[in-house]
């Protein structure tokens, strides 16, 4: 068999088996998440995007739970006051550890960067798990910090 055909066969087999086994593996990466990461699948938005200023209003109203999806180290340095730390990969790895809260509660997801794909992926994941009011803070924590909005810093 031609070498290129052999290479193609090995690559395609790895890909197909990988996707298939991940569907069976309870700790696997579901195809839905893979498609979401490429913005395939449903084009209907199941979350809301808000600016940092609008998010500040929610913060003062105390009507939402802030979810910090950055790494735990970053969270420990500083984070939005009252936010809970659920690092991005942890959210998918152990969704059962997600705080037991009412599905109608407002969840505000934020990452460090301006328009993080991780924040959108997390928001869609949470919306798929039945949360009806999921919001992504556009601008991320960096803009929140730049504007001098309230943060909790790690006490040394």
């Amino acid at each position: 068999m031609n070498r290129f055909v052999q290479i193609g066969t090995i690559l395609i087999a790895s890909f197909v088996i990988g996707v298939a086994v991940n569907q069976i593996n309870p700790h696997g990466i579901p195809l839905r998440l893979l498609c979401m990461s490429l913005s395939f699948g449903s084009h209907q938005k199941d979350y809301v995007e808000t600016s940092v200023d609008s998010t500040l209003l929610l913060f003062f109203q105390g009507s939402g739970l802030f979810i910090d999806i950055r790494s735990e180290q970053d969270y420990n340095i500083d984070h939005i006051k009252g936010a809970v730390s659920i690092p991005f990969f942890e959210l998918f790895r152990h969704p059962e550890n997600f705080p037991k809260i009412d599905s109608t509660s407002t969840l505000i997801v934020y990452d460090y960067h301006l328009n993080s794909n991780r924040a959108f992926l997390s928001a869609r994941f949470l919306a798929n798990r039945g949360f009806k009011n999921v919001t992504v803070m556009r601008g991320g924590f960096i803009e929140w910090l730049d504007k001098g909005y309230p943060v909790e810093r790690h006490k040394r």
Binding site: M1, R3, Q6, I7, I10, L11, A13, S14, F15, I17, G18, V19, V21, N22, N25, H27, G28, I29, L33, L34, S37, L38, F88, F89, F92, R93, N117, R118, L121
Partner: protein, 156 residues
């Protein structure tokens, strides 16, 4: 003259046998190494995706796809090396894989990333450093030797 001819033929025989054994040893060594490296990654794809993302080359999306694809590619190449199937193609793919890993490790070292390699997920796996680079250079050199030995064995 005749005695000299016999001894040179015997020397050639010993050399051929040495080449065959080294070839077999390298094939089994790389095959087992790749299968061993793939096992944990297949079981914990999210952890592997996080390890890939830590290299800060691929975004979250590509890290997830890499975690679905690479462990199975490693496993298939590993099994093919052990079985001797499509050996010319497989030793080439093995070398390409080793070379890619080396580039990843070197760029992480140059950029000063203080991360774990994510290669084997063994307890106490070493962080990226000169030792890790040396280890990967060794794998590249051995994988290139395997290509050469494969050619010699196939044509002898």
């Amino acid at each position: 003259m005749a005695r000299q001819g016999i001894s040179s033929r015997e020397a050639q025989k010993v050399k051929n046998r040495l080449i065959k054994w080294t070839y077999l040893l390298l094939r089994i060594g790389f095959g087992s190494l790749l299968i061993y490296a793939s096992i944990y990654k297949i079981g914990s794809p999210f952890e592997f995706a996080e390890a890939v993302e830590n290299y800060r080359i691929f975004g979250t999306d590509l890290s997830l796809w890499t975690a679905v694809f690479i462990p199975y590619l490693e496993a298939i190449i590993g099994f093919a090396l052990l079985s001797g199937l499509w050996s010319e193609t497989v030793v080439l793919l093995n070398a390409v894989l080793m070379f890619l890993f080396l580039i990843l490790v070197i760029q992480a070292y140059i950029r000063g990333l203080d991360i774990r390699c994510g290669c084997f997920f063994a307890e106490g796996e070493s962080r990226i450093g000169l030792l890790k680079i040396f280890e990967n250079v060794l794998f590249v050199v051995l994988s290139i030797s395997l290509i050469k030995l494969n050619k010699i064995v196939k044509h002898s």
